[in-house]
């Protein structure tokens, strides 16, 4: 569990490095959450995604909870799909995760509009392309970490 939290902190670092890009920056924390949800599905992954959404909100200066809402919903869907996702090749996973992230972005934009806020639509879509393209990096590096430290379900 500690190592999972540590990887999430590394994701936070990466998103802080890419902060000047604005909304185009890839969503590292979301990718790391998706990996752990697929590799070790359990209930506390939803809680973790909720907390990391809070951190993303603070980093980006948005209303607290607006990102964690969409993260929680996406991780819930992933926890239902993990069986089929595990049997796919890495390229197929990339495509599926890209589409899931796009759905998540629309949910996210929708919450923004519900609360009367404005957001740049195009850069969010570009961001989900980049996020999907970065999946193999996250997948292989986190799988390496999981095997090295022999993380079991926690």
């Amino acid at each position: 569990m500690l190592i999972i939290i540590f990887t999430l902190f590394i994701g936070l670092m990466l998103s802080l490095i890419m902060l000047p890009l604005g909304y185009i920056a890839p969503e590292w924390l979301l990718l790391i959450n998706i990996y752990w949800a697929i590799a070790l599905p359990s209930n506390n992954k939803i809680l973790l995604s909720f907390l990391s959404g809070f951190f993303v909100d603070i980093v980006l200066g948005q209303p607290l909870g607006i990102t964690s809402l969409s993260y929680v919903v996406l991780i819930y869907i992933i926890l239902h799909l993990y069986n089929s996702l595990r049997y796919m090749t890495i390229a197929q996973q990339m495509v599926v995760i890209f589409f899931l992230v796009i759905i998540k972005q629309h949910f996210y934009i929708w919450t923004f509009y519900v609360f009367g806020l404005d957001i740049d639509y195009q850069s969010l879509i570009i961001s989900s392309f980049i996020t999907g393209a970065l999946w193999p990096i996250i997948y292989f590096s986190l799988r390496f970490i999981r095997r090295k430290f022999e993380i079991d379900d926690s």
Partner: protein
């Protein structure tokens, strides 16, 4: 614990509902009562800012290393130029008494009183573009140094922006070059009140809703007018460099070059005074 390959279901529907309602309430609370964001301030100060510091350290070290190699010669050159400037300034200082009395006379005529700025804090810029999609900077002082939302931030040459987000040890500033920041300003030559905002395509400013027949020339000085109580009055905003009178439309496009070199700033000045009429 060895997990079977096919678990029936690991997800707890009630946990999802609880978390969704929790996040919705936190959004509503944050939007309704933005002053009660202790959670944000705490996490910002104790987790995010240290990580930011760690992330920035390698690049800072590298830059310092490069800077130190080229300093001594540059410093000598700088001293020479500064001494020259100093002499010129001393000569010019003698004129200041005359100018002071003239300014006093003019001020008594004008209704807009310029209060002397007294309480200032000098802050370092720690990061740029901290708010996504907005021209913004982060500076190194926060509510611990009595910074509040809405205070005017300026450089030595003119207006820079205003504080929009405050944590305990850092705060974020919306620059005047952003599209969303409207500065109430004044043409000093004619006294006409205008509104200045940022241009989305470059780092210049432009006016909104200035009619085609307005008396304005390139080279006119624009200062902040202090209306609406947001920015302190009589700070330099910029100079007009281009006027495009759009035929067939009501409003002209006026391009203003900001007096402060906003992209090269390293330190800013924050006024702690609150502007009152």
């Amino acid at each position: 614990m060895s997990s079977p390959i096919f678990k029936k279901s690991v997800t707890n529907f009630y946990l999802l509902i609880v978390l969704i309602s929790l996040s919705i309430t936190s959004i509503i609370v944050d939007l309704r009562y933005p002053s009660i964001n202790y959670v944000r301030v705490l996490i910002n100060d104790f987790i995010v800012n240290p990580i930011q510091y760690i992330v920035k350290t390698p690049s800072n070290f590298f830059y310092n290393f490069i800077e130190e190699k080229e300093t001594i010669d540059q410093l000598r050159l700088k001293i020479d130029t500064l001494e020259k400037d100093n002499k010129v300034m001393k000569i010019n200082l003698q004129k200041i008494d005359v100018l002071k009395s003239e300014i006093d006379r003019l001020r008594s005529i004008k209704s807009v009183m310029m209060k002397k700025i007294q309480n200032i804090k000098i802050a370092k810029i720690t990061q740029r573009d901290t708010i996504p999609d907005k021209e913004s900077i982060q500076m190194s002082i926060g509510s611990n140094d009595f910074i509040k939302i809405g205070q005017t931030v300026m450089g030595t040459n003119g207006l820079v922006g205003q504080v929009v987000e405050v944590s305990m040890y850092s705060s974020k500033v919306l620059l005047i070059t952003d599209v969303n920041s409207n500065v109430p300003a004044m043409i000093t030559r004619t006294g006409k009140r205008i509104i200045v905002k940022g241009r989305p395509q470059d780092d210049f400013l432009e006016t909104s809703f200035l009619t085609n027949d307005t008396d304005i020339k390139s080279g006119d000085l624009i200062v902040s007018s202090g209306q609406a109580g947001r920015f302190i009055a009589s700070l330099n905003v910029g100079r007009v460099i281009e006027i495009i009178r759009n035929k067939g439309e009501r409003f002209a496009t006026v391009v203003i070059e900001p007096s402060e070199y906003i992209n090269n700033l390293t330190e800013v000045i924050v006024t702690l005074d609150e502007y009152k009429d």
